[in-house]
């Protein structure tokens, strides 16, 4: 490969052709400050509009300062990243940006976790000259079921636009207007609710300021906990335990399952359960549906739709309801684990402890913002009482624990409560891309072949590539499995399904890059994809530590079917654990 030699801050370096100054400097240990640039290289996501102009440096022989994030290295280039000219320019540009940014950091959701705030601190900004007469660009605040948009705080880094369009291909957001009033918004600057937004939350995950944040449900949860007439039940998703520690200064990938359980109990939840239990239940229902459709398909039944698509991910469900409503009978009808949990908690478990469902409050801790919307869907409630009352993100939980003055690091590990806290290794891996389908294969294999599965780890289904495929041998039946994470990748597989070109029997889709571990509700990765990889490793470690690693062997799942549901796919199962989908495509109504 052709290489290029250059000098940065008097240090020589040789880099491959096409490397930017920013990346070359990073290799030398020089961390050039920037606000808009973002590189998630493991996921093939890069955002470099060259818009913030903070990363500028002096390049010998060039008239103007060069944006290092988007200037390629050239042979013999001499770069200086911190001359007085550069420092003065950076400071002045930062003053410009701050002059058009609200100063309500005290009550901002991003305070303490804000790239802009950090940059202001890093550049030592103590006053903004002329702020007293500086006009601010202001916009209408928009609250949706999941996401709050406060565009007064937007700095036009365009990261959200990149995520929404290039990565997710949702196309709900675009740069609009021009000049001083330019910002990023849905069509016609309407509320997000009326756009094609899937609430995947990837825009929130990458926003460097408080412009995009999640809807905060902590006050409602606190009220429920404080109400003595309410029994408050909490469930935690698999990906949460692999990331929560980061909010408390622990290294990415530190598992905090036991400490999280202890903290939830300390917060006053009456029952600390695990969404993983419901994940095992999902495998039972979805796996059965897969085998049923598959065997009918193999027998030549044209009404049996193949491939079957997973349906655990609410962002993904929103996506196909908006963009592929013609395929709405292709995904599995199984509810997501969050909703299965809610349905079982407010029926089976409420009956068991002898309380009315109206006196039970189910809270879920999710790595996800779309879950907030999912639990508000009408079909997931009984007489106006939702199966899951509040869904809070990993970030919100961390904040809640801190509010309660609980030091998670000193807590002793505790176990989940029974019966809805017991789970298998198969359920844990739901948190990473490929995990759901791997868990399904573990169960479906044994149910289909009647044989014991020797090799539990389908490593061929793991990884970070956007679209993956593998053939799993079901004792002579080659099962074609497809996996996509990130909605843009999902779209590719869906286009094939629509045109009939798809050869897959089953496809797993997760809306977020990396799966739930990279969800929109997780601790912010600030553009570091190593963090997402570390979380995946943690998930697979937890799986290996579990004594039971196949969903159908979960004793409490067996008990639940024996005592209550009958068998997977039974009428009662269908009533409680399955759902249907809607056509949400925007149609042009033609006036008669």
């Amino acid at each position: 490969m052709e290489t290029i030699k250059l000098t940065i801050d008097n240090k020589e370096i040789e880099v491959p052709k096409g490397t930017t100054i920013y990346k070359a400097a990073k290799e030398l240990g020089i961390d050039i400050p920037t606000l808009c640039y973002m590189d998630l290289h493991d996921l093939n996501i890069e955002n470099k509009p060259g818009g913030c102009r903070i990363c500028v440096a002096e390049v010998q022989g060039k008239k103007n300062l060069a944006p290092t994030c988007s200037t390629n290295c050239e042979q013999g280039m001499v770069v200086k990243t911190h001359t007085t000219r550069v420092m003065n320019a950076r400071r002045t540009v930062m003053e410009f940006i701050l002059s058009d940014h609200p100063k309500d950091c005290l009550i901002c959701a991003k305070s303490g976790n804000c790239d802009l705030q950090d940059m202001s601190h890093r550049l030592g900004i103590r006053e903004i000259p002329g702020a007293e007469f500086a006009e601010m660009s202001t916009y209408r605040k928009d609250t949706s079921p999941s996401i709050i948009r406060e565009l007064d705080k937007c700095i036009m880094c365009r990261r959200c636009e990149t995520m929404c369009n290039d990565v997710q291909t949702v196309g709900a957001l675009s740069a609009v207007n021009r000049g001083f009033m330019s910002t990023v918004a849905p069509a016609f600057e309407q509320n997000l609710e009326y756009s094609t937004c899937t609430y995947c939350g990837q825009c929130v995950a990458v926003c460097p300021t408080g412009a995009l944040t999640e809807v905060n449900h902590i006050p409602q949860v606190l009220r429920a906990l404080a109400d003595p007439t309410k029994t408050v039940v909490v469930q935690t998703a698999p990906a949460v335990r692999a990331a929560l520690g980061e909010e408390f200064g622990l290294a990415p990938g530190t598992l905090v399952t036991g400490k999280m359980t202890a903290a939830l109990r300390a917060l006053g939840f009456d029952y600390v359960f695990d969404t993983d239990f419901a994940a095992d239940l999902t495998i039972m229902e979805e796996g059965t549906e897969l085998l049923d459709r598959l065997s009918r398909h193999l027998k030549g039944d044209k009404t049996a739709k193949i491939p079957i698509l997973t349906s655990c991910c609410p962002g993904w469900v929103n996506f196909f309801e908006h963009y592929f409503p013609d395929l709405k009978d292709v995904p599995s009808t199984a509810k997501s684990p969050q909703q299965m949990f809610g349905a079982i908690a407010k029926s089976y478990f409420a009956e068991k402890i002898g309380i009315n469902r109206k006196d039970m409050v189910v809270v879920s801790i999710m790595p996800c913002l779309a879950k907030k919307y999912e639990c508000q869907r009408d079909e997931f409630s009984v007489d106006g009482n939702p199966d899951v009352d509040y869904s809070i993100s990993t970030r919100e939980l961390a904040s809640f624990i801190k509010q309660a003055n609980i030091d998670i690091k000193t807590l002793h590990d505790e176990e989940f409560d029974a019966p809805l806290g017991e789970s298998t290794g198969a359920a844990v891996i739901f948190g990473a891309t490929g995990g759901v389908i791997e868990a399904a294969c573990r169960t479906a294999y044994e149910l289909y072949t009647g044989k014991k599965l020797e090799r539990l780890e389908f490593t061929e289904l793991r990884g970070m590539e956007g679209v993956r495929s593998a053939i799993i041998d079901f004792d002579g039946l080659p099962l074609n499995i497809g996996i996509a994470h990130g909605l843009g990748n999902a779209r590719k597989l869906l286009d094939d399904v629509r045109s009939g070109k798809s050869l897959f029997h089953a496809i797993e889709v997760m809306a977020c890059p990396g799966g739930c571990i990279g969800g929109g509700g997780q601790p912010l990765h600030h553009g570091n994809s190593e963090i997402i990889k570390a979380r995946a490793t943690a998930i697979y470690t937890e799986d290996r530590k579990k004594p039971i690693r196949k969903s159908h062997e979960n004793p409490f799942i067996i008990k639940l079917y024996n005592e209550y549901l009958g068998k997977p796919g039974s009428e009662k199962s269908h009533h409680l654990l399955h759902t249907h989908y809607f056509d949400k495509q925007k149609k042009v109504i033609i006036k008669k």
């Binding site: 207007n177 509320n191 109504i589």
Partner: protein, 160 residues
């Protein structure tokens, strides 16, 4: 803001479809498609953008982004007689701002607005390339040169 209600007549939808087809439904031709639609409808209401979005397979947010970027495109219907006042440098130093103020006063509207009776709309632009006639005012396709504030009433009278 409430949910935008999408209601167009069938022939309008067919027209937009036709325009998209004539550009081979190529998303890169978006701006030309929008030009043709604005020429036909006089402006680009949300409904029109929705139909264009569907046929070019471009997210409607992106289309709105383009429409709000270029000052040529408008989402509000223009008046029967659109008035444009040149605020290029040459016109400015010869007093175009005072002329604009006079129009605002006479019509009771601001730049970018249309009068209640839909007769006039007011806009400013930067240099029409007739600096020799500064300050310049355009009403529809007609050009008025060396306009003084006192002339404004007479110009408006021509369109009463």
């Amino acid at each position: 803001m409430s949910h935008i209600k999408i209601e167009l007549r069938k022939e309008d939808v067919d027209f937009i479809k036709g325009v998209c087809d004539s550009f081979n439904k190529d998303p890169q031709e978006l701006i030309n498609v929008l030009h043709a639609c604005q020429e036909h409808f006089g402006y680009l209401p949300a409904e029109v953008q929705e139909v264009v979005s569907e046929h070019l397979e471009v997210p409607v947010a992106k289309i709105y982004g383009v429409v709000t970027f270029y000052s040529f495109f408008t989402m509000t219907p223009k008046g029967k007689n659109p008035i444009s006042i040149c605020l290029g440098t040459a016109c400015y130093v010869r007093g175009a701002e005072k002329v604009l103020d006079e129009f605002k006063k006479e019509l009771g509207i601001q730049v970018g607005q249309t009068t209640k009776d839909n007769k006039f709309s007011l806009s400013s632009l930067r240099c029409v390339g007739a600096c020799g006639l500064a300050p310049v005012v355009l009403v529809g396709d007609k050009t008025y040169g060396r306009v003084a504030p006192d002339d404004v009433k007479n110009i408006l009278k021509e369109y009463e």
